[in-house]
């Protein structure tokens, strides 16, 4: 028989549950308890949230800039903007071939074993494909930059200089091709997982990451002083696509399954990020505030990357999201 004191405590818990919907505390959600029971098994996560830390959103950011800078370098080289091409290749090499691998290796649980990534080639594993794409990109971008600089300063005479020009062209082309993949595969990486808020948006993610990469690369070059119409055009395109994605994201809601995108702090990160690199960057560019548009786009691209990883942590810890994503 319950003592009056425990009955009184029970009444208090019931009252609190009635008013607030939930009562935090241990042992209060057993059967017959006063509290609405948590979903699933005591509210335990059904899938595991990602273990990745701050390195991964930064890698998505720098990998996107680096990869798409090589694309701009290719366009600039083909249309004889030599200085722009050199600047873009510098960014490609530093962001894509130096910073990106460092961030990726730092995030490993056992960093000294990073070369194990190249033991196998698995086309069904986006992580494996990403390791190879990054390797191929680095193998093009770094020698491509060296060849381009040697050619720019005419270090070698005559025929050798012409050979360097051809080599630089081929390597920049290679860096551009692998660069587009480096900037977009990250969307596949998190899209093809068991995390509901990620896999439900697996088509949006590569478009968002790739386009944010392209716009960020153009923004960095503009901030470095390269104000040409081509970069402005790319800036308009990227901000317009991001605006469309923001609309898409707010229309394609999946209820409880992807509520991490629309609720919580993670939802705010996504919204703020998308607003900065979508509509705000677009409006600023329309009014000709190019540096501000560039800064807005870069900030949005970074915040939304952080937001997507935060969404994964929230969504992966939410049992109801997993159940909802499998019910339909």
């Amino acid at each position: 028989m319950n003592s009056p004191a425990s009955e009184k405590r029970l009444e208090q818990l019931r009252e609190k549950a009635w008013q607030e919907g939930v009562v935090p505390g241990r042992g209060v959600d057993v059967v017959g308890g006063p509290i609405p029971r948590k979903p699933g098994y005591y509210g335990e996560p059904v899938v595991k949230p990602p273990v990745w830390t701050w390195e991964i959103p930064l890698y998505f950011f720098f990998g996107g800039i680096g990869g798409m800078s090589a694309v701009i370098a290719l366009g600039a080289a083909l249309f004889h903007h030599v200085d722009l091409s050199r600047a873009a290749m510098w960014i490609a090499a530093v962001a894509g071939a130096v910073l990106s691998p460092i961030l990726l290796i730092m995030d490993l649980g056992r960093p000294h074993r990073f070369l194990n990534m190249l033991r196998v080639f698995k086309h069904r594993s986006p992580m494996s494909m990403g390791a190879w794409i990054l390797t191929a990109f680095g193998a093009c971008a770094v020698p491509g930059l060296i060849a381009l600089e040697l050619h720019a300063y005419h270090v070698f005479p005559g025929a050798l200089d012409q050979l360097l020009r051809v080599v630089a062209g081929v390597l920049i082309f290679g860096a551009a091709i692998f660069g587009t993949l480096l900037a977009t595969y990250t969307g596949v990486l998190i899209g093809a997982t068991a995390i509901p808020a990620w896999f439900l948006h697996r088509t949006l993610l590569p478009i968002h990451f790739g386009t944010a990469g392209l716009g960020s690369a153009a923004a960095v070059l503009e901030l470095l002083g390269h104000r040409i119409a081509a970069l402005n055009f790319i800036g308009f395109y990227a901000a317009a696509v991001e605006t469309a994605l923001l609309i898409w994201l707010s229309l394609a809601k999946h209820g409880a399954a992807d509520r991490a995108i629309h609720e919580h702090g993670s939802g705010w990160l996504i919204r703020i990020g998308e607003a900065f690199n979508g509509p705000l960057a677009l409006v600023l560019r329309l009014f000709g505030f190019i540096p501000w548009a560039a800064i807005s786009f870069l900030a949005g691209a970074l915040v939304s990357r952080i937001g997507w990883i935060a969404v994964g942590k929230v969504s992966g810890s939410d049992p109801e999201a997993v159940f909802a994503s499998q019910r339909s």
Binding site: V31, V47, G75, D107, G109, R110, A194, G312
Partner: protein, 288 residues
Amino acid sequence: MIGEGTHSTNQRRHNYVQENVEVGFFTDPTVCIGCKACEVACKEWNEVPDDGFTWSGNSYDNTGHLGASTWRHVMFLEQDRQKGNQIAGTMSLGDGEDPFRWVFLSDVCKHCEEAGCLEACPTGSIVRTETGTVFVQDDVCNGCGYCVVSCPFGVIDRRPAPLPDAGGAFKCTFCYDRQKSGLVPACAKVCPTESIVFGRLDDLRAHATKRVEDLRQHGYNDAQLYDPTDTSVRGIHAFFLLLGEPEAYGLPPRPQVPTIYLKSAWTAAFATAIASLLVTLLAFAFSS
């Protein structure tokens, strides 16, 4: 099976690894007594470190969930439903019946037919063994963490510092080392009620189907098998008998291996890659 003594598949030696026989676990909560001997035996044999002692308040379960240092996890479900043909008690207040059942189930890595972790692993650390189980080679794993988000059951996890062997991904090995020597996995060997049955996968599936039928005849109307053969996971090597819905056990009702999402995601990636190239070239072409 219970009653067979040393002839039970849980006790006798075998050559499944040498003969490439598909093996499995069948876990039956209707005979589990919640003793957690499987958790202890697993920890002891595999030298899995302790990962903290916390009082959860969730029935008798202070383990919580499977993880890098928890490869067997006994769940304790308290449900206000009748168990079989039991006579339900009456409410202490009022005159209604007060049905109650306490269900114990030992959870474990499912060893999927199409395993998300194995597909995702970029180092080739995760492999399939001769007996069809999924095994992590710890000396190859570099701790990238991609298997963690690729497991549809939330089993595998990266072990945090300062635990021993921190940084790598860990999960149930199906006692591959014991199996190679003809021994039964530690959890099944020690299970006092043979709630965990180890054996040939085809035998276990037949046994499990019969067990469900028997239970239903004895009033366990919500007894069902949990073996998602009709989803992209295409069945699991460690399957379960459940009383009630899988959600109550924290099991996904329709688990999918994430590789089914690759086609649409890569299509979007390639389209974006081509669009970015074209837009950039057009931008330079029109402004030159």
